[in-house]
Symmetry: C2
Subunit: 218 residues, 2 copies
DNA sequence: AACAGACTTGACCAACCAGTCAAGATTGTT
DNA sequence: AACAATCTTGACTGGTTGGTCAAGTCTGTT
């Protein structure tokens, strides 16, 4: 059971901590700065969370489900190209809506994934392998242009999260204009051209490149 | 004038500092750790560099020229598609050869580019604008498929540096196999499909999308 | 050998850090 | 009003950090 005050203050702390951790990394963040941003005293932070580590952990835990969900949503029964385009658009929308979460994640990976190793090597890896098998089947059926499924997935992560993670750089280069302006239509164009199966209708889909072979067993 | 010992020790320090800064970020790195990695005492580090900040600065300064050079190398007289493919391949090779430098840069941008703001808003921005004008001309001439030049450049940065910056994640997902295996041919495929102008030979190149218009004045 | 300049470091300092604690303030309930 | 549970915090601790300094060692030159 948690009180009204607990819910409010835990919320304030996590919100402030997301700001600080995402922009300074774990070691660069200080409890004093989080406390100041949350409008609470430092001992009060530690009344609600056991440690700096625990706050960070709580943020990551919130994040992980949100992170996996769009990948889970890909529907094996749907149209291959439409499914992948929709996945890419969901990820881009997440970069727009949750840029701090993206940077929190990026910070964690950049430092060698010390706290996310288990999640990545476990749940995420399993899910990615499953999705790669699905994509490989679609390619084998000639419903997608021949492509390496894993690199396709990585490219979607890379291209969408880039707008959140490198926001500071893009802002400085574009000087003023919205960093993500034009990103939607660019990525639509990119993945349409990348994925559209060769115009040749019907028959004989080309053999998938060898890099897909390892997934075709599913 | 610098002595033999100076050259050797400055080199040892910068090499060690690159390891530490790239994996921990500026605030997460400590002089003790750099000193230990370099095999020198902490006061000795500060005999060769004025401060922690100065070591970091020296690393970034070394980096910036290397970073710009491939973009400069794009030849306005060359074949458009070949020039951009070659640029992409150079960037991918840099991600392979200098992953720590890429992560050092990524750390800096993630934290809001506090030390690179001037470089990015100045030299880099000017160069990028110039290259975008060039690409926009190529598109207008129908020698490249219609595409937003800035997002094209951003996509190359994103897709190549991703293999260095998110190395830890890719390693954990692939479990053992070389994180960059297959990246070359994937990116070759991607940019070939993205950039190849429509098969229609000769005449009437389609009007470039409006997002290119702002570059067409150069 | 002798000497100056270059190099090295143990011991230290002030500032900052995560986390503790005891004492007090606030809140919800009767 | 009274009381217990919840909430809040100033003052503190032990450990770490970037950086200093005086005293020393090493190196190249004569």
């Amino acid at each position: 059971m948690s009180t009204r005050i607990q819910r409010r203050n835990r919320g304030l702390i996590l919100e402030a901590a997301l700001d600080v951790f995402s922009s300074r990394g774990f070691r660069g963040a200080t409890l004093d700065e989080i406390a100041r941003a949350a409008g609470l005293s430092k001992p009060n932070l530690l009344y609600y969370f056991d440690s700096k580590e625990a706050i960070h952990r709580a943020l990551l835990d919130d994040l992980l489900e949100t992170w996996l969900e769009p990948l889970r949503t890909i529907d094996p029964q749907g149209d291959p190209q439409a499914e992948i385009m929709a996945y890419m658009r969901r990820k881009l929308q997440m970069a727009r809506d949750f840029p701090r979460e993206s940077r929190l994640f990026a910070n964690e990976i950049l430092q060698g994934a010390p706290r996310l190793g288990d999640f990545i090597a476990g749940e995420l890896r399993t899910l990615v392998e499953d999705r790669c098998q699905l994509i490989a089947r679609w390619v084998a059926q000639g419903r997608l242009a021949p492509i390496d499924p894993l690199h396709l997935v990585l490219s979607i992560w890379s291209l969408t999260q880039h707008y959140a993670d490198f926001d500071a750089q893009i802002r400085l280069i574009r000087g003023g204009t919205d960093p993500m302006a034009g990103a939607d239509s660019f990525l639509d164009t990119l993945y349409t051209r990348l994925l559209s199966p060769p115009a040749a209708v019907g028959g004989d889909p080309a053999a998938p490149p060898s890099s897909c072979a390892k997934y075709s067993g599913g």
